[in-house]
Symmetry: C2
Subunit: 195 residues, 2 copies
């Protein structure tokens, strides 16, 4: 196409989304104003409305993109017929994927209640989809006698909560490398399901 490259139109949209994500993660959706986002990008507040119909869409779109990326990336993993290998794969994938996107993850968990109507329903469904994939692994392992689980549903919640908790304290360049963190959590997850 003969479209001009580096036109500011092609660059301002992504910059707005990036600034919004950073600010929403830091201060919370409700506490961030359109004026703040505009200032961060270096445009006037009115100019934002060339790129988003409103503030709510800014939130919904970033949450949707994040969840779609999560589901797609997880689906792209190689098949693991062995439940133990599948659980290890899930554990390492979850930690690695989430640690690389701390702002988006934080927003996805904290700002659900600020989604209006249909928006909430759609994101919630994607989250349940993801959790169901872990539950399938646990169910398979339980059926095969590889795991010893008092309750599949609660084990799913427990493992997800444990893994997602990594994001509350992990910072790059800290005491432990990410792959060491993966190792340690995998050890605890494996034990917790009785494998």
């Amino acid at each position: 196409m003969a479209r001009k490259k580096n036109s500011s139109a092609e660059v301002t949209g992504p910059r707005i989304r990036a600034a919004a994500q950073r600010l929403f993660a830091r201060h919370g959706y409700a506490a961030v104003s359109m004026r703040q986002i505009a200032a961060e990008v270096g445009v006037q507040a009115g100019a934002l409305y060339m790129y988003t119909p409103d503030k709510q869409s800014l939130l919904y779109d970033m949450m949707h993109d994040h969840m779609a990326d999560l589901l797609q990336s997880h689906a792209a993993l190689p098949d693991c017929p062995d439940p133990l290998a599948a659980l290890e794969q899930f554990t390492r994938f979850h930690i690695r994927f989430h640690s690389a996107r701390s702002d988006a993850v934080f927003i996805a968990y904290m700002e659900l209640r600020n989604l209006e109507g249909e928006n909430f329903t759609r994101i919630e469904a994607m989250r349940r989809n993801y959790e169901a994939r872990l539950q399938d692994v646990l169910q398979r392992g339980h059926g095969a006698g590889v795991f010893r689980l008092p309750d599949i549903k609660l084990a799913t919640y427990a493992v997800i909560a444990m893994l997602t908790g990594v994001n509350t304290w992990y910072r790059e360049g800290g005491r432990l490398s990410l792959s060491r963190v993966e190792d340690i959590y995998w050890d605890m997850v494996r034990k917790s399901v009785g494998a």
Copy 2:
């Protein structure tokens, strides 16, 4: 004392705090207005300022009271010299205490970033104090050879995250009684620390 009972002054204060807690938990501190709180109580917005100097104090006070209650209730538990018994005690205490106060717990975890200056520092210190008590138990058990832990600090984070996760799904009158939930989580916690 000859003070009149049921004067509205003795009743309005607590009602304001209760309404604020309910609304903050449901919609988030930043999204709730003083007018909404007043409407919930059935007074005008201006009347709130007889009971709180400002909106921020409303948030800080409820978080402080919650954390103080948590620390005091935990300190009141009987001593457990045996690390395994101590970990079971902590597990059951945490689940039971938190499930009975879901609004306060939700606020304590979600609204930390809306505390200004000193307020943040003080609440954060109380939270670290509570987590240190779990870490002590794990440390003792590790030293005694009762637990097998790859990393004490991460195990603390993992157990806290797992247990606090109960609040995201547990509802009274659901499929499982609270003491059954305690049993199931205790089973997973015990296994995860290698006991």
